[in-house]
């Protein structure tokens, strides 16, 4: 049988939204190809209930594998086994760090073609063709697979979640993990660093990046956010550096937001950041580099030094609001 196999990431009893998008997309494509969409879940004691939920998004069968979760390599072994059993022609992943690692490793294992950052998949002559934006999204390339299995790793939030209300059978799959797959062990998963801040309900976000220069650079952003009545958000670069809370991070391994206003200061606009905020209604960017990619998708771009602009902007906003 041909078909599409989708990896479904879960944590604390819930599926990742991007995995649900990938299952929905897999089901849509499988219908167009006249085949089935299957999903695979790996974890310790995954319940029937949880696994079967994927049926609602269009998976007709869910492979359940007992094994360690949160690391890529055991999943590669599991997907290899599932594909050997099911004869799938495509493996599909929602965006995210693990999807990249698993998809790439699986491609190596199966000598398969792989395309990442996929934003659209179309059916052409009974085959899937993946579309990937390249060169800062200035061009879109089409990728055709010339291998038994094609691996498709999507960009974060590329696929819409659609409930079709179907049901899935759950099939246990016993997998013998490779020795190297068990040589990385999770010591601690999902540690939250920094204070727990709520940015998802904010209509206005003032986001800061490495251009702030130092941790204290966020003080000025806090003031601007206060004046605007919004909250502060951050890039991974500054979260990794310990300048701001992980819970305020936007992007591929952070949050996805779509506020009325997203004001970015000292942020270059890397793809992994863009995917988390591009749906914002109004994007304003302050960056001293006129070639910064963020200007490509800003509604208002200010080329200048944030240290000069932000404090004055805070005063001006206060004055305007007070009037």
């Amino acid at each position: 049988m041909s078909g599409i196999l989708v990896y479904a990431l879960h944590y604390e009893g819930a599926f990742n939204k991007n995995s649900l998008g990938a299952v929905s997309e897999g089901a849509r494509l499988a219908a167009e190809l006249g085949t089935e969409c299957h999903a695979i879940v790996i974890g310790e004691g995954v319940s029937d209930d949880l696994a079967a939920q994927l049926g609602k998004y269009g998976a007709s069968k869910v492979f359940r594998v007992e094994g360690p979760e949160g690391l890529a390599q055991p999943v590669i072994d599991a997907m290899e086994a599932a594909i050997a059993a099911g004869g799938h022609e495509y493996a599909l992943f929602g965006g995210g760090l693990l999807g990249f690692e698993i998809g790439a490793g699986l491609a190596a294992r199966l000598d398969a073609g792989v395309c990442m950052e996929v934003t659209n998949v179309r059916v052409e002559d009974g085959k899937l063709v993946a579309e990937r934006p390249i060169l800062q999204d200035s061009q879109i390339s089409s990728v055709h697979y010339r291998s038994g299995v094609g691996v498709i790793i999507s960009r974060l939030n590329a696929f819409e979640i659609k409930e079709t209300g179907g049901t899935a059978t759950v099939e246990d799959l016993a997998v013998e993990f490779k020795a190297h797959s068990l040589k990385a062990k999770m010591v601690q998963r999902g540690e939250q660093r920094g204070a727990d801040v709520n940015i998802e309900d904010a209509n206005i976000l003032v986001a800061g990046g490495r251009g702030l220069g130092k941790k204290e650079g966020f003080d000025a952003l806090e003031e601007l956010a206060g004046a605007l009545g919004g909250a502060v958000a951050a890039t991974r670069a500054v979260v990794d550096a310990g300048w701001y809370s992980y819970s305020a991070q936007i992007g591929q391994t952070g949050k996805t937001v779509s506020p009325k206003l997203y004001l970015a200061a000292g942020i270059s606009g890397a793809i992994q950041h863009k995917v988390g905020m591009q749906a914002s209604e109004n994007i304003v960017a302050i960056n001293k580099d006129s070639n910064a990619p963020i200007f490509e998708f800003s509604d208002l771009g200010i080329v200048g030094d944030l240290n000069k602009i932000v404090p004055k902007l805070t005063e001006a906003v206060k004055a305007k609001k007070g009037s």
């Binding site: 944590y11 949160g70 890529a72 390599q73 590669i76 995210g96 760090l97 693990l98 990249f100 690692e101 790439a104 490793g105 491609a107 190596a108 000598d111 398969a112 073609g113 395309c115 990442m116 950052e117 934006p133 999204d137 061009q139 879109i140 390339s141 089409s142 990728v143 055709h144 697979y145 010339r146 490779k178 020795a179 190297h180 040589k183 990385a184 999770m186 601690q188 998963r189 999902g190 540690e191 939250q192 991974r236 670069a237 990794d240 391994t253 006129s290 200007f295 998708f297 208002l300 771009g301 200010i302 080329v303 200048g304 602009i309 004055k312 902007l313 001006a316 906003v317 305007k320 609001k321």
Partner: protein, 264 residues
């Protein structure tokens, strides 16, 4: 023990990258540089060597690329690598992720490293995936985007940010680790190191010498074939303000926000 660091030569950040419409490949003309993300991998190797918790005998820089890619190796050596290996063969040109990862794994296998370090992404390819491909071929445990490495009983205790927060993972050696750019602040090479770099051993290897099967690499054997480069739907260009007089700039921003009722 031996650490191999994967490095790549990429177009300089200031060069505008484009696809050559006749070949469908990235136009690799113009100023070139060592992929900035790889300098973090070299620095991580140096810190492990100097830290003393592992006894590192040598750090070897490895690249796959055309003749010019030697310059990336020379830079890597000036940053501390002891010697370098250049996998260079016409047959490898135009390899996709699958082919590149396979070829790099073959040349790495010929060195039997205890640890392979690489950067989080190449500035031109931007696939974030070479580490995972290489690791599967070498049958080594692997982690990408690592921002902290500590040695613990001969294994590596690694931290990285994944989808649900920070994960701490204990990885046994031999292993393949790709490092994030927050892991360290790469050092600048000393003048002496720059001068001495060309004198350190550099070995060039052809595909056949490291057992690379010709039908698994190169443009014609790419398992994923890119074509039909199209422009995305045009988005209305945003308004740009060059900040000359900041009071004026700020006034314009406030007016812009006010017009869109964002100051209510």
């Amino acid at each position: 023990m031996k650490i191999c660091v994967l490095v790549k030569e990429v177009p300089d950040a200031a060069v505008e990258k484009r696809i050559n419409p006749s070949t469908g490949r990235l136009d690799r003309g113009g100023e070139k540089n060592l992929n900035p993300f790889d300098t973090h991998a070299i620095e991580a190797a140096m810190q492990l060597k100097e830290g003393g918790a592992l006894s590192v005998d040598e750090v070897v820089a490895v690249t796959m690329g055309p003749e010019s890619a030697k310059r990336a190796l020379t830079k890597a050596v000036s940053l501390g690598a002891d010697r370098s290996v250049h996998l260079s063969d016409e047959a490898l040109a135009g390899s996709d992720v699958n082919g590149t990862g396979y070829a790099l794994a073959q040349v790495l296998a010929s060195e039997s490293p205890d640890l392979v370090l690489l950067g989080q992404q190449s500035d031109d390819g931007e696939c974030y995936t070479i580490g995972a491909v290489v690791a599967d071929h070498l049958a080594m445990p692997s982690l990408t985007q690592v921002i902290k490495i500590d040695v613990e009983d001969g294994a590596l205790r690694c931290e990285r940010q994944a989808e649900y927060g920070y994960d701490t993972v204990l990885v046994e050696l031999p292993a393949v680790i790709s490092v994030g750019d927050a892991i360290n602040e790469p050092r600048y090479p000393s003048l002496k190191a720059i001068m001495g770099a060309k004198k350190k051993p550099l070995e060039t290897k052809a595909a056949g010498e490291v057992g690379i099967e010709a039908d698994r690499v190169g443009y014609d054997n790419a398992r994923a074939h890119c074509s039909d480069f199209a422009a995305p739907p045009a988005k209305a260009a945003g308004q740009i303000i060059e900040d000359e007089d900041t009071n004026e700039t700020v006034e314009k921003i406030v007016a812009w926000l006010d017009e869109r009722k964002l100051l209510a």
